[in-house]
């Protein structure tokens, strides 16, 4: 329990760093926030007025203090494009991004982990070679390009998937929001038609992200499984005549998964970035496309809110990875 609190406290420096960097990026560096807010046609006078309104004429420490205070109150500013508070916008769009990213990760893991295991257990086999090719090719794939290729093949050529335009068909209405995850919400009320519709929209972008996450996961799974299979305790287990099922699943795999779980931190870093690109390709109404729209409109507050949200999300994910690691590895619980 104490270790857990320590770990939570350990996330604080990252949080502080993230807040400072976001502040510096938006308030201190050359890009002029007031000009952003005033819009391209504003006069020097109205810019000065906005500057005063935003407190940009005050000393930096004071600005930082009010920035932090606003953050504590959940005030991320207003979006000029939507006319809504940024926090409201982001909270409304976050579930879409989360559902997509998590499905992508699950698809990636569902393919990569068995592939990595088979490649390690049957070294030199077809699966092993396939694993090598996929690992090298996978890290070379521009994720937005993979997405477009999938759209071309499965929407235009085969007609198997719906048009890449958001989370649901334009004429369907979303299920009542409980979690914000359409698949879960639709399942909760037993609306399987909506569920199928949402799944059909989700599958291509999620597979795109999955293909992207696959390479690093498969690589680390193969490497760590190989290392574990050569470990002395596996020799002991074999010398004890344990069945190959117990040997591979209970002894080797559980140990091999520890580095995989740790690597997920890096995978999430890539995945959250790739998510922005995939959302743009599939017109997915998540926070990534929200940020892209704001970027194009030179709308500063949403971009800043997005960066902050992503960074905090990433810190929380790393925390979650740590907790999973503690649950799996008794040694981690004792540090």
């Amino acid at each position: 329990m104490r270790g857990l609190l320590l770990r939570l406290a350990g996330s604080l420096p990252a949080l502080v760093a993230v807040i400072i960097v976001t502040f510096v990026l938006t308030r201190v560096l050359p890009g002029d926030t007031a000009t952003y807010f005033a819009g391209p046609t504003a006069s020097a006078e109205s810019i000065a007025q906005i500057r005063a309104e935003l407190g940009l004429d005050r000393p930096l420490p004071e600005q930082f203090w009010s920035y932090v205070q606003a953050l504590v109150h959940g005030d991320l500013g207003m979006s000029l494009t939507t006319g809504q508070p940024v926090l409201t916008d982001i909270l409304a769009r976050l579930p879409a991004s989360a559902e997509l990213t998590l499905c992508g990760l699950l698809i990636g893991m569902a393919i990569a982990i068995p592939l990595g295991i088979i490649a390690a257990v049957r070294q030199g086999s077809l699966a092993d070679h396939a694993c090598r090719v996929i690992v090298t090719a996978g890290v070379s794939l521009p994720v937005f390009f993979t997405g477009l290729l999938l759209v071309y093949v499965f929407y235009f050529l085969l007609g198997w998937s719906p048009a890449p335009l958001g989370r649901l068909d334009a004429f369907a209405s979303p299920p009542p929001a409980v979690t914000g995850f359409y698949l879960i919400d639709a399942a909760l009320i037993g609306d399987w038609e909506t569920w199928r519709g949402a799944a059909a929209q989700l599958i291509l972008p999620a597979v795109t992200l999955g293909l992207f996450a696959l390479a690093p996961i498969a690589r680390i799974t193969r490497a760590s499984m190989l290392a574990v299979l050569g470990a002395e305790f596996i020799r002991t287990a074999r010398a004890s005549g344990l069945s190959s099922r117990t040997l591979i699943l209970t002894y080797a795999l559980r140990n091999a998964l520890l580095p995989v779980v740790t690597t997920l931190g890096m995978v999430f870093s890539f995945l959250l970035g790739a998510n922005v690109l995939v959302e743009k390709v599939f017109a997915w109404p998540g926070i990534g496309s929200y940020a892209v729209e704001a970027l194009i409109a030179s709308d500063g507050a949403p971009v800043q809110g997005f960066v902050l949200t992503m960074a905090i999300l990433y810190i929380l994910l790393n925390l979650a990875i740590d907790l999973v690691n503690r649950a799996l590895d008794p040694r981690a619980r004792h540090t």
Binding site: T236, A239, G241, L258
Partner: protein, 330 residues
């Protein structure tokens, strides 16, 4: 060494190995790691297999239990455990024998245990596999085994992970895993390396006591002559994949006949010697990848070499239970 009568009494023997040969295919050529190895171990007997590192002691153990990696294979001979031929047994049959009739413990016990599974479960896994126990019964029996190897407060320790236990405790757990199913044969591969002296003695005492209680035969693989002298009834000396001499411990220590054995003993003047500082034996183990290995693999290092040593090697039984593979024994 053509097939020779093993020294131990056949009726009592648990393991009979004859003409047992193993090769490894490597990129640099075929390594003839074991060549016509022969020995027997009887019920309740402790035989020490001694030799320098690389002499083939561990390979013998691994090959017997079917634990060689893909590059290694048994090229000939026979190994019978309680009458069951091991060399021709299927992988499934071997896996059913391992941990049930023949068990093995290793050096570096902490690394030899699964780091993220508590020790009670690791003992229980063997019981569930070989004794057909259910989860609950296996857990209870695991605690009994921990008690049997002298671990205090076994019920609590069953929930401990290897990193929470000392090296000596881990080795006791290893022994508990190995003997949980009352095997007929226990192979201990350098079981005390890395443990401090008192712990070494305790671990060896536990193994000796369990062997005496259950009639288990023990093969003690070690490079430590002093340990072998103290803990075994018989010693087989290995050199470069051959067993060169095999005799009751006292006989071997007092009247060594093979030039290599004599060198070994000379290199360790007191009984507390250790083969690790065996620099004084001139030359190295021969390159076992050569195609033209001499019949006696010690010949190049030997000062009693005769022209006759070029002839194929044969066992000579100098007196009952004392054999030597040498044309010119001392």
């Amino acid at each position: 060494m053509s097939a020779a009568t093993p020294a131990a009494a056949a009726s009592q023997s648990v393991l009979d190995v004859t003409d047992f040969s193993v090769e490894f295919r490597t990129r640099a050529g075929i390594v003839r790691a074991l060549d016509r190895v022969a020995f027997s171990v009887g019920r309740g007997e402790t035989m020490a297999l001694v030799g320098e590192s690389g002499s083939g002691k561990s390979v013998t153990a691994y090959a017997l239990l079917g634990l060689l990696d893909a590059a290694g294979r048994i090229t000939g001979g026979s190994a019978r455990l309680e009458g069951t031929e091991l060399t021709s047994a299927s992988p499934a049959a071997l896996s059913a024998i391992r941990g049930k009739r023949a068990a093995m413990i290793f050096q570096n016990p902490r690394a030899a245990l699964n780091p993220i599974r508590n020790v009670g479960k690791q003992i229980g896994d063997v019981l569930r596999r070989h004794a057909g126990l259910g989860a609950r019964a296996a857990a209870a029996e695991a605690i009994e085994m921990l008690r049997a190897v002298g671990i205090p407060d076994p019920a609590r320790r069953a929930g401990a992970y290897p990193f929470e236990l000392s090296g000596g405790m881990c080795q006791r757990v290893m022994i508990a895993i190995a003997v949980a199913t009352r095997p007929a044969l226990l192979i201990a591969d350098e079981p005390t390396t890395g443990l401090d002296v008192t712990t070494q003695a305790v671990v060896m005492d536990i193994m000796g006591r369990l062997a005496a209680e259950t009639g288990m035969a023990t093969i003690l693989i070690t490079h430590d002559l002093a340990l072998a002298a103290e803990r075994s009834g018989r010693i087989a000396v290995m050199h470069a994949g051959h067993i060169v001499e095999d005799a009751p411990t006292k006989t071997l220590l007092l009247y060594p006949r093979h030039p290599y054995t004599r060198r070994l003993l000379a290199a360790t003047p007191t009984a507390a010697g250790n083969l690790a500082d065996l620099r004084s034996i001139p030359g190295n183990l021969p390159d076992l990848r050569r195609d033209d290995l001499p019949p006696c693999r010690f010949a190049a290092r030997c000062d009693r070499r005769l022209p006759a040593c070029e002839a194929p090697m044969q066992w000579r039984e100098l007196e009952p239970h004392h054999r030597v593979a040498c044309w010119n024994p001392a």
